[in-house]
Symmetry: C2
Subunit: 426 residues, 2 copies
């Protein structure tokens, strides 16, 4: 199928330049950017008075935790996690996770996300939701274990890998997710590494999220979580690590030396009161830093415009330097840097001929986009997720003129509500 | 006119309780909350699957600075202010300010703001925009001077007061705005105080916004800006002070003792890199703390949902305590605390029988509002400004089902764009 996106302000994210023009799509790929009078489209999408840019990459979430949105807020961390979230998570079924993932995907498409990296449980059910809705996803089962205990989860992850990796025309990738250093002991990390040798996969994990985690690692191993994972050899596999809030200068050097991508989650880190990740230092060191939403239980939405805005604003305040994380950097964190974290930078993250057609169209016909001095600034400092009007992933239109095309949205919302009512009383 | 708002989830902000019911409005006031079978409405507005709550109070902005939105970003403070903003502000005319204020009002209504406090220039033109559009506003001319120099601006402010205070059925109030301690010397502050004695007005000012301001005050007066203003007697007049970022414990005590309301502007403070105001300490001391957008040149929007969200999130991170600024507190900062700052707490800021009908209706039919565990949390942690569906101010419907009723929005947007093109080349 040939699709023409006509007459938008195109921000390719290959550079800060914005050009007015068209984008031609043939099947799943971008055929041209600019103008091609010979192109015969089957479908024309007007981008008049719009920005056209790459789909956003949400490189760390737990999608089905949408079901726990606004369930437990304004609590101390352990009251939140052990007192409320873990007990209710124990009640979730595969069907709940499927419904929660569908809800998450509806919300993500509406906010311009075309790729997400998910770490959770009942991942077959998440994969099913991803397949049905046409979004791109790196999926991983979050696993924890000590020595031989929990070893069957590694086998499950491996089966999940063989079943789904590369499926749905390559939209689904499968990664491996040792949950965190404090939930996986050294032997267990060793088993995971033995299992994935030679596989076409990545490591998705949480590192140095809280002060307490770092303190416990220092007590147990004499090293930080990041130095400890390096010592175990985990970073010999391509790795993307969520949070990385409490870092030493040596940690930053280790992340850089080992090409570990950092997934910054400001909304979650602030809300659960873990603090401010050293984003400026990480960027200066040349670490690939992306930004993501984390799960909706600690955020409480899947809104990349908010996360990019927080990354730009909060780091300026922390550093007391308004040049920190300028708008284009924040946009890069939400697009190409996320793609790089997931190993997809040759396919997505920018708009270029031959790349996959993961494209979003943002409606500028609102007061907060007037006047038009700087469209890049407007995306970070003025925009809302609800300004995303049309979304394509892999050349398929997932939302057009604010209408979701690959799911019955009303049904998804109702079913998520019913699921919440059920598991709450289980 | 009798209006019935039917069947919403009503959050009065008199307490955290949410009740499902109706609101009856007679002319400009709330006649009942709950149910009244005898009420005969001229107009019925459905609030099915919506939250109904008080209009938001944006207690510190410079509305016409919407014209400078996204004009100068990611710059060091003095490059931003002296290098770009002040030179371009010099080119603005009264007509520009009128068009900028209209643009701001369009944006504010769309984001649920029914009252704003404006400090700027060409205030007759702002008042004209306010009068035409039916929003509520405390207006003040920002004035600066040294001794006798600038004294005519005080006369202008006085004329403006006599012309507009209490006008448009009381929707317009006029305050006096000595811009800041560093732009008004002691004698000038004295002239202002002499002028306003006995008037029904308030002081709107900027205090302790930057480290540099505090440092200069200590050098010049041996005291902080806040202690210095107290010493001059300014706080004998009801005062609301924007920013208050860099405070000593003694400053906080002075603010409390003198009933000075603090208007917190997190978006602006972060973006211009002034840092984090001590919101937790201020609240603990019993200071009335509101939240506001500041001008769109340093934000870059007029989005109170973002500001309330920032106040809740960032203060948790700063304090490393997730119980800091819980959702209901953030909502209070955006409603009743703002009303209190402006001296309007008996008229607006909560929904109660006899109070003015400043009411907003928020559309919950979106993925980020599912499931429905806690609607108060959802307003702070999940909502977007664009979820505001219907807005009433003083009993008049300003927006219904996302359509602005008291202005030609398309024309306002176009004219703001044309104005920007004109003054840029002046």
């Amino acid at each position: 199928m040939n699709i023409l996106i006509q007459g938008g302000n195109i921000l390719t994210m290959e550079s800060e330049e914005i050009q007015v023009g068209d984008i031609g799509i043939v099947d799943d790929r971008i055929a041209f950017i600019g103008r091609d009078e010979t192109f015969v489209p089957d479908k024309v999408i007007s981008a008049d008075d719009c920005i056209v840019m790459p789909g956003l990459v949400n490189a760390h979430t737990h999608s089905a935790m949408t079901l726990l949105r606004n369930y437990a807020d304004d609590l101390l961390f352990w009251d939140w996690l052990e007192g409320t979230i873990l007990p209710i998570e124990d009640k979730l079924t595969g069907e709940d996770v499927y419904l929660g993932a569908k809800l998450a995907i509806a919300e993500m498409i509406r906010s311009g996300i075309t790729t997400f990296a998910d770490m959770y449980m009942f991942m077959d059910d998440v994969a099913r939701a991803v397949e049905e809705t046409g979004i791109r996803a790196n999926l991983s089962q979050g696993i924890t274990g000590q020595g031989e205990e929990g070893i069957e989860k590694i086998e499950e992850s491996l089966s999940f890998y063989h079943k789904w990796n590369g499926s749905n025309d390559g939209l689904i990738r499968v990664d491996f997710a040792p949950h965190a250093p404090y939930t996986c002991d050294d032997a267990y990390i060793g088993h995971i590494m033995d299992t994935i040798k030679g596989l076409d996969t990545r490591i998705h994990t949480h590192l140095s999220e809280s002060r307490d985690e770092v303190k416990r690692s220092l007590e147990l191993h004499g090293t930080t979580p990041i130095a400890h994972m390096r010592d175990l050899g985990l970073f010999e596999f391509p790795t993307y690590a969520a949070h990385c809030v409490h870092l030493t200068d040596e940690d930053i050097e280790i992340l850089k030396q080992n090409n570990v991508s950092v997934i910054n989650n400001p909304g979650s880190n602030f809300k659960i009161a873990n603090g401010f990740a050293p984003v400026k230092k990480l960027l200066q060191a040349g670490v690939n830093v992306s930004v993501a939403t984390d799960g909706a239980a600690s955020n409480n939405n899947l809104n990349m415009f908010e996360e990019m805005n927080l990354a730009a604003l909060a780091n300026k305040a922390v550093e007391e330097d308004a040049t920190t994380v300028p708008a284009y950097t924040a946009l890069s964190m939400g697009t190409i840097n996320g793609a790089r974290a997931l190993g997809l930078e040759t396919q997505i993250g920018t708009l270029a001929v031959g790349k996959k057609a993961d494209i979003i169209i943002i409606d500028l016909s609102k007061p907060h986009f007037y006047p038009r001095f700087n469209l890049i600034s407007s995306l970070i400092y003025s925009a809302q997720a609800g300004d995303v009007k049309t979304v394509l992933c892999n050349g398929q239109v997932l939302m057009q003129d604010y209408e979701l095309l690959t799911m019955n949205e009303k049904e998804v919302l109702t079913e998520a509500d019913l699921a919440a009512a059920r598991f709450k009383n289980r």
